[in-house]
């Protein structure tokens, strides 16, 4: 296993810049998840690491070796594709052994490695089947097995779970987490599903428009998002944002409620700020903290919890989590409170203010 160091990587197609100045360190044995909205460049970054896309500028080392100009085969990586990309004309065993055969691995060694991978992934009864005779989850496991047998320095996963149904996705997610522990592998994993990102990652890299917005431990991103984009992207339902401005020392006026917070001295009266409050940190009709008047638009009941969509007098809709069975119906006027301590503040440029 090895670490991946990406240094000022840029990628452009013609005049369109897809990736701009990407700096990233993937520690040896760590599980790094790239997340972001579609078109943010996360898959392109993964393909650059794989060597399937040439990079326009910058450098990249895998295990201390400069790989910028190496083809995929020489980078000692293995990739698991979203579509699985199994060779349809070979059986499961053939699929897993295929790369090794061309690498000149001795036959006994191939047999041993395939048997080992089949054991780990419970593919032993399926070794003689063709891909078309397998279910989606089985195909996925074969694709992972094909990566394992090559004993690569780095595993690359490109949205491996997005073709599976919900139940299988959770199972396979757990399997991948176990596999990571078992193999002690360095993994770079692309997904647009933040639950996958939060549960699997040692480090999450949030990308947007070809840049890295923030990289860090999952809970750091949740508790201390560096900017508005990360704040809005991590967490479901998304964080509520209230526009406001600083009125005095430690006072913020937002959505018609005077709010007293500890603000750093860099904030001057009149500065525009954005308050971010997660739905799970809001309470209907309860202190502590400032209360906002609102009208109930809709209540989504999920059982244990629910989400109230509330319309503020400004017309903005905020979402608040509700526990148990709320007695409110659409049209009710209620007040909603939140804890100022759990409130995030961002400056006019969208950066977090501590």
């Amino acid at each position: 296993m090895a670490e991946v160091l990406i240094d000022k990587l840029c990628k452009s197609y013609g005049s369109a810049e897809i990736l701009k100045d990407i700096d990233l360190k993937v520690e040896d044995g760590s599980f790094v998840v790239l997340v972001g909205p579609s078109g943010c460049g996360k898959s392109t970054l993964l393909r650059c690491i794989a060597g399937l896309e040439p990079i326009s500028a910058g450098g990249m080392t895998i295990g201390g070796r400069q790989v910028k100009n190496l083809p995929p085969a020489k980078r000692e990586i293995a990739m698991v594709f979203q579509s699985y990309a199994l060779y349809p004309h070979m059986d499961v065993k053939g699929n897993m052994a295929f790369g090794l055969r061309f690498a000149g691995t001795p036959k006994a060694e191939i047999e041993a490695r395939v048997a080992e991978a089949a054991r780990i992934l419970q593919l032993e009864p399926l070794l003689k089947r063709r891909p078309r005779e397998l279910s989606g989850g089985q195909r996925q496991r074969v694709a992972i097995g094909r990566a394992i047998v090559r004993k690569p320095q780095v595993f690359l996963f490109d949205e491996p779970l997005s073709n599976l149904d919900a139940a299988l996705r959770i199972n396979t997610r757990v399997e991948i987490a176990k596999l990571h522990k078992l193999l002690n592998a360095t993994i770079v994993y692309v997904t647009h599903d933040q639950v996958e990102a939060m549960t699997l990652a040692d480090k999450i890299v949030v990308m947007n428009k070809g840049r890295i917005e923030q990289a860090g431990k999952p809970l750091d991103l949740y508790y201390k998002p560096a900017n508005l984009f990360v704040a809005g992207f991590i967490g479901s339902p998304a964080m509520n944002f209230l526009e406001g401005h600083v009125t005095g020392s430690g006072r913020v006026e937002a959505a018609g409620s005077g709010l007293t917070l500890r603000l750093p001295s860099s904030c001057k009266p009149g500065d525009k700020v954005t308050l971010g409050v997660r739905p799970e940190h809001m309470n209907l009709g309860a202190a502590p903290g400032p209360l906002l008047q609102a009208q109930v638009d809709l209540i989504e009941r999920l059982g244990e919890t629910g989400y109230a969509h509330l319309r503020l007098p400004t017309g903005q809709v905020v979402i608040s989590e509700v526990r148990g069975e709320p007695g409110h119906v659409t049209g009710d006027s209620i007040s909603v409170g939140f804890d100022p301590v759990r409130c995030h503040i961002f400056d006019a440029a969208g950066r977090r203010i501590e």
Partner: protein, 275 residues
């Protein structure tokens, strides 16, 4: 479900066409077994005990030259199929997979071959072949037929190669395969049905062709069977028994080749590769 009336109409049209297409062939095969007098007096009568006469076949198989004409035809046809498939698939792969400067122009240039019949260049081809000292060689025929078949093969194979999921080729690259390995071990097996199709329609015009054998390899025992049969057609006397027998037997090899390739025309080979 289609309406029964329109199904009957479609089958009637197809049936009529089949009868029309098969009629001359059946006539040739039937008459090849009959005595010369019966061929002319009752051409539409099937072979019966009183008019049966295998003299034509005896002549054809008794003539060692005819056997070598069969071999010539077989060599030219299989050689052409092999070269067309190999180079056609390679060119199609290059044109679809790789982005290079003259890609589109090259594809257009090759497609001109589909529109312009190669026979228009016959004079130039004869000159070329003669300058190369290749008159009366089978290689000359194979080369000309390969050139004739390539444009359409490339066109059809490109379409099929473009349908192979991109992920498969990239999985191959990640697995450490060279571009040649990817071509021979992933692409070729997956376009087998398309190659069988190309093989079938490459083979039939080549087997039946009279033009280029007449121009490029007319003597010296290098005649193909369609040309070799002409020796039975004389200016004053035509040995109809032998002609019909030779033509009937000429159907068999091409039929066998067809059966071999049509077994490969299995659909859905790529299913299960990607979801």
């Amino acid at each position: 479900m289609r309406k029964p009336a329109s199904a009957i109409a479609v089958h009637a049209i197809l049936g009529l066409y089949t009868v029309l297409a098969l009629f001359p062939i059946v006539l040739v095969v039937m008459n090849s077994f009959k005595a010369k007098r019966a061929i002319f007096n009752t051409p539409l009568q099937p072979p019966m005990p009183w008019n049966f006469d295998p003299i034509g076949y005896a002549k054809v198989f008794g003539d060692s030259a005819i056997t070598s004409y069969y071999l010539n035809s077989l060599v030219v046809t299989t050689g052409t199929i092999f070269m067309t498939l190999l180079f056609g698939a390679m060119a199609a792969w290059a044109l679809t997979e790789y982005k290079f400067r003259w890609n589109t122009l090259l594809a257009l240039y090759l497609s001109i071959g589909i529109m312009v019949p190669i026979r228009l260049g016959s004079v130039a081809i004869i000159q070329l072949v003669s300058d190369l000292n290749m008159i009366n060689t089978l290689s000359a025929l194979v080369l000309v037929y390969t050139a004739q078949s390539l444009p359409l093969s490339i066109f059809i194979l490109s379409e099929f190669i473009a349908q192979i999921p991109k992920d498969l080729r990239e999985a191959g690259r990640c697995d450490g395969l060279t571009e040649f390995h990817i071509f021979f071990y992933i692409v070729l097996p997956l376009i087998r049905p398309a190659m069988a199709t190309v093989a079938v329609f490459t083979m039939i015009p080549v087997w039946n062709d009279l033009w280029f054998p007449l121009l490029l390899a007319p003597t010296n025992g290098k005649q193909t069977i369609t040309l070799g049969v002409q020796q039975f057609l004389g200016q004053y006397i035509t040995d109809w028994n032998a002609v019909l027998a030779a033509l009937s037997t000429a159907i068999i090899p091409v039929l066998i080749l067809y059966v071999i390739f049509s077994r490969q025309l299995i659909r859905g080979l790529t299913s299960g590769a990607v979801k």
